[in-house]
């Protein structure tokens, strides 16, 4: 019975303390807004009251080389003598001596993360599982007021980064969607997909090249093989190569990265194989020029003008070269189809090419071209992802408007 009461008192105490902090917090911001936070000239020379309640604990969500120090602001910070300028945080492995300044924060801030290095040789090395003590001092002009020493604390590493949990949950949910819809597609569930003009144009453009007897130019962009835009492009290349092989039209794929070139060769080869014409594949149709952006572009532009390519397809990651390529292709009179996930370059492709796959459409295109049920399943998953995003967005906006901040915070990643 008695114990329960004590427990109840503790809760009450914490509650009141919280209220007090809240009140203090409001008061401080209020004072700032009202413009009362100016230091009077006389108070600057006096020592401010020291900060209190200095607590050190392990920093969460890290590899175990950082501690977090918190304290209660000096009464002269933003109130009282109102002469505190900053706080300095001192650390030592001995409670009595050897304190060294490890960081400075501005007035009004009551927390500091003492982030050490993990390498033993580093002068900022902060070992795991070793006790440290902290002091915090308030500074006013040239005068300091030091707090008492904190209780010891040590740093240790964690197994899970809780600040990243929104990323984790989001990734798990979306992975679930992808697996689920691909399995449904496997079972032969028919899926509707809306038409995309740029994708429908690919067939037509290949046909045109065949009629004209001129080659097709396929540019995978300047990304590396680890860029997802490039991967999307390489899978589209595979489908395009299959059609090209069927029509027996030559395809040219100049590359700006050796690994991309390697993978592009395999993609094209696979396309020819799928079309039943593995012998028609020429290794030199996919080649490397150079990795330097503008040298690569100058060569591709020359190629367009000299080979008079009938169709140019630009898919993948593009930077400033987008318009250089597209305008030159225009001079050469080619039909041009583009697609990129680079927001800054989409305007130029939209302006200068005949069809443009905007952002996510690039990622949908490989599934569209192949019409393979497995890949269409992934498109369905993407749509469900969007539905989830839209629901969260609507709820989040409502929550923010009615000050249910906890809901908004669910989506915020704390690195």
């Amino acid at each position: 019975m008695k114990e329960k009461l004590v427990f109840g008192n503790k809760v009450l105490l914490i509650f009141f303390l919280l209220l007090l902090f809240l009140f203090l917090g409001i008061n401080i911001t209020f004072a700032q807004e009202a413009g009362e936070a100016k230091a009077s000239v006389d108070s600057l020379a006096q020592a401010p009251a020291p900060p209190t309640n200095v607590v050190a604990r392990d920093a969460p969500n890290d590899n175990g080389h950082a501690l977090v120090v918190t304290w209660t602001l000096s009464p002269d910070d933003g109130a009282g003598k109102n002469n505190v300028v900053s706080y300095e945080i001192l650390r030592s492995d001995n409670p009595d001596t050897g304190f060294v300044v490890k960081g400075v924060v501005a007035l009004g801030i009551s927390q500091y993360e003492d982030k050490g290095a993990k390498e033993k040789g580093d002068k900022n090395y902060l070992p795991s599982h070793k006790d440290f003590y902290y002091r915090v001092r308030a500074r006013a002009d040239g005068i300091f007021s030091e707090s008492v020493v904190s209780a010891p604390a040590y740093a240790y590493g964690q197994w899970f980064h809780f600040g990243k949990s929104p990323i984790f949950i989001g990734s798990v949910i979306f992975t679930f969607f992808v697996v689920l819809f691909i399995n449904m597609a496997k079972k032969g569930k028919e899926l509707y997909v809306r038409p995309i003009a740029g994708i429908d144009a690919v067939d037509e453009a290949i046909g045109r090249a065949t009629e004209m007897g001129r080659p097709i130019l396929y540019i995978v962009g300047l990304g590396s093989a680890a860029d997802l835009g490039t991967i999307a492009s390489l899978t589209i290349l595979n489908r395009v190569a299959k059609k090209v092989a069927e029509y027996q039209t030559p395809i040219l794929v100049p590359c700006a990265d050796p690994i991309v070139m390697t993978v592009a060769q395999e993609s094209v080869k696979a396309g020819y194989y799928d079309a039943g014409r593995p012998d028609a594949y020429k290794e030199d149709s996919v080649w490397y020029i150079t990795s330097m952006q503008f040298a690569y572009v100058s060569a591709v532009n020359g190629l367009m003008l000299r080979e008079r390519t009938a169709t140019n397809i630009y898919m993948g990651v593009f930077y400033a070269e987008s318009l250089l390529l597209a305008e030159t292709g225009n001079v050469a009179g080619s039909i041009q189809i583009s697609g990129t996930d680079q927001v800054a370059q989409i305007p130029f492709f939209v302006a200068a090419t005949d069809y443009t796959l905007i952002g996510e459409e690039l990622y949908a295109a490989s599934a569209y071209l192949g019409k393979e049920p497995l890949l269409l399943g992934a498109i369905k998953a993407q749509d469900w992802g969007k539905i989830l995003i839209m629901i969260s967005l609507v709820l989040g906006v409502l929550a923010a408007s009615f000050h249910f901040d906890f809901f908004v915070k669910l989506f915020q990643v704390k690195m």
Binding site: V85, S86, A106
Partner: protein, 273 residues
């Protein structure tokens, strides 16, 4: 082919030629292009113009040489305007790659007007943690800067006698290339109630307009254009930004003319059918 159809299908090389001329000719032939001044630039100019001899103004040069083309003309013009009127300047440079460049600028302009360090201006230089420095200067300039850039104690300077903090300056005009601009708005204006005006790069300009209606800043100069506007108001001899802005204006007019030609051709030939 009708005239209007020709308007639609001009050879692109005519477009190239016109752009080439638009950019090349202003490099050789001197002429002026009018600049229309926006109210947010005019309010900065009017404010500086309203200062009297002996008033103190704080100028922050928080950028590095990479954005000099846009921001240096603003700093230069305002400093000249102030020195000509006998306004005393306190100058900081809170970008880690900027203090050397700012020092060159300060010594150049002060020589032009024969102004003395410590008497007519005080160049504070750089301190790490811009946010903290801005807050601390609100208490006392001497906390982050006991001495100026040249190592002279602030207390020994005639112009700093009785000058503690932002209370003794009329305003802060900050030339910014990044987030330090937020710190001036939030900390210097929000906490210490000193009027702040900003000069920012062209890319940043749109994001800072929101602070004008709420009076958190009393003026804003955005990029080359803002600098050219200010130069046209200040009417000084050297106008770096105006020269470049002139080319930009003509090039933009050229692009717009071509868009108009294409559309006129498009509509008229459609009407004929």
């Amino acid at each position: 082919m009708s005239f209007y159809e020709k308007m639609m299908t001009l050879d692109r090389r005519w477009v190239y030629l016109c752009v080439g001329i638009a950019v090349a000719v202003p490099l050789f032939v001197p002429f002026t292009v009018p600049v229309s001044v926006t109210p947010e630039v005019r309010s900065v100019y009017d404010f500086v113009e309203s200062l009297k001899e002996g008033d103190r103004l704080f100028i922050a040069i928080d950028y590095d040489p990479t954005v000099m083309a846009e921001l240096q003309p603003m700093s230069l013009t305002i400093m000249r305007q102030c020195f000509a009127k006998g306004v005393k300047l306190i100058i900081s440079a809170l970008h880690q790659n900027g203090p050397g460049m700012a020092e060159q600028l300060v010594s150049l302009v002060s020589k032009e007007f024969d102004k003395k360090s410590g008497v007519d201006y005080c160049y504070l230089g750089y301190k790490p943690y811009p946010g903290l420095t801005i807050l601390a200067m609100g208490q006392n300039f001497r906390i982050p800067f006991p001495q100026d850039y040249y190592g002279v104690s602030l207390d020994s300077m005639p112009m700093m006698q009785g000058v503690r903090n932002y209370d003794q300056v009329k305003a802060i005009i900050a030339m910014e290339a990044g987030w330090v601009a937020d710190s001036w708005i939030r900390d210097a204006n929000g906490r210490y109630k000193v009027p702040v005006a900003l000069g920012v790069t062209g890319v940043m300009a749109a994001d800072y307009f929101q602070y004008l209606p709420s009076k958190q800043i009393f003026g804003l100069m955005g990029g080359l254009k803002g600098a050219a506007e200010y130069e046209s108001l200040a009417k000084q001899k050297e106008r770096q930004a105006t020269g470049r802005m002139k080319v930009q204006t003509i090039a933009h007019i050229m692009v717009i003319i071509f868009i108009v030609i294409g559309n006129v051709g498009f509509f008229m030939s459609k009407r004929k059918k």
